[in-house]
Symmetry: C2
Subunit: 313 residues, 2 copies
């Protein structure tokens, strides 16, 4: 049965997108315990850190050590977030498999976040592409188009701008492009439109989706992106991270909820959901007192799961 | 613009499905405040109570008073849940517009809940149909097929059984049939299949969907049902109610989250979202200390909302 099911990749980003907005600094050994535990459940792709100045983000000061630790686990793909050339040099030196470069489609968000216009970030990507090509082993360069569905600063983000920046990233040498709803504004109709438009322009290079569940639409947006052919999704164990713009509100879609939905729909994630929920419960050891948002951790696996996937009528 | 958008009906069921599992009894005047406040936001359909013996459900002991109060509000459709003929007599006497009869497709759940097999509940529906036809003003009879996507007792619920019971309900005189994921087991692929199968059998009589968000798939399931032509959805303000089978887990999809998604997708609910969030915040007056689950109450309305709906590419 398993071999007949279509594969969907789940990328754990909690160690980066989840931890980066917390006030606390998680010890390196706990981060590596988390990675090893989730890898044992079948998760194979992790965004493990950001390479950014420690004075701005002390939670990520151990990025090189986390990469080194993660690399010791066989069959684990190690990605990191890198906003500039300096970070890319350090990431490649640390031995990452791939680099994710955040490029905010919202000019207001881009200026506020990295003091650069989106098109200047594309120029950074071009420089990083050259560095990646000079590395001993090939390093993949992924463009992550943030605020692709709206922005807390400028509000509306034009769909044409998303297509334009996506094309510019490909022209600059990105291997893949992903679209991110950084602030939880997206709705499924919009997701369908924007993914279809970008797909029409750059084809299969449009690779992944990154949704936040801040307004409850996270998994609905996943389904819309699945319907547009996307087969790689970012998520964070326990929905860890919250939303910096809305105290108490949730952030990334929760890995365990995403895996539940995908497997229940008949997709093959390669992940053992019951084991994943056990790892989710261990988050309270690594992050005592931290609010979590995933639903499966409380509700548990349904009595009718897994059931044999059926063909739609 | 408004007149060009397709209408979707949102049915507030928090006063019934939300309050019935709480330990507390909410005063009648607070229930009526809630109804009036949400009606002022544009909500037009409410399931306001259950007509069940007060010894089993003291929260619903004032059902006739709540119906009487709700009836004084112009343009408000008053529905109640009724599990048997005795309840139907009282509901019709109280002056309801419609009666929802819960019929569990899971035999195990039906026996545990009402000590009757599903087909015996269909026989109750037939009796209630006769009573409704004898009422002074026409009373609509809606069949609500609970556990249509799985059951916490027997696990799997067959899709053929859902179709069979739906047809039996129509044969017994139901005006409409709705499908309910009572326990939060449904996934979007299953929702598409089951709604398509039932629609194929009973056509437009398949009217509404009732989803719980216990495992985070609530709004994703709404989108799947929308794609199958459903234009009426139950929800509960603040996601009130929780899940009796999973302490701390959420229950019904939250009305404010549902309205946000539908309006953002370009549908017309007739509901003022900003006003609805204010009413959601008043739940803490009527239900002090009660955990709520809706996301919009914390996250707020996006800066790009409402935006002009666009046509899919």
């Amino acid at each position: 049965m398993s071999s007949q099911r279509e594969r969907v990749e789940v990328v754990e980003v909690g160690l980066r997108d989840g931890l980066q907005i917390l006030d606390r600094v998680v010890p390196t050994r706990d981060k590596l315990d988390w990675i090893a535990s989730e890898h044992a459940c079948g998760v194979r792709q992790f965004e493990v850190a950001s390479f950014v100045p420690p004075k701005y983000m002390p939670q990520m000061a151990d990025a090189a050590d986390v990469v080194a630790g993660a690399r010791t686990i066989s069959g684990l793909g190690v990605s990191v977030l890198v906003p500039n050339v300096k970070g890319a040099v350090a990431a490649i030196e640390a031995g990452v498999d791939s680099i994710a470069i955040p490029i905010s489609v919202s000019e207001a968000h881009s200026l506020a976040n990295v003091k650069r216009m989106p098109i200047e970030m594309v120029a950074q990507l071009k420089e990083i592409r050259k560095l990646a090509d000079q590395a001993k082993t090939r390093v993949r360069v992924d463009a992550g188009l943030s605020t692709a569905f709206g922005c807390t600063i400028q509000g509306h983000v034009s769909e044409d701008a998303v297509v334009t920046i996506a094309q510019a990233c490909i022209d600059a040498g990105a291997d893949t492009v992903g679209l991110a709803d950084t602030v939880g504004y997206a709705n499924p109709a919009q997701v369908s439109r924007v993914f279809a438009s970008v797909r029409q322009r750059i084809g299969e290079r449009l690779h992944s989706a990154h949704f936040h569940d801040t307004r409850g639409t996270g998994l609905a947006n996943v389904v819309a992106a699945l319907n547009e052919g996307i087969r790689s999704f970012d998520s964070s164990l326990g929905g860890l991270g919250g939303c910096p713009h809305a105290p108490g509100a949730s952030g990334n879609i929760a890995t365990e909820d995403l895996v539940f939905m995908l497997e229940a729909m008949g997709y093959d994630t390669g992940i053992d959901l019951a084991a994943l929920i056990k790892t989710q419960h261990r988050l309270t050891d690594w992050l005592p007192g931290q609010p979590l948002y995933g639903k499966l951790g409380l509700a548990g696996v349904p009595k009718n799961f897994p059931h044999a996937p059926q063909v739609a009528a």
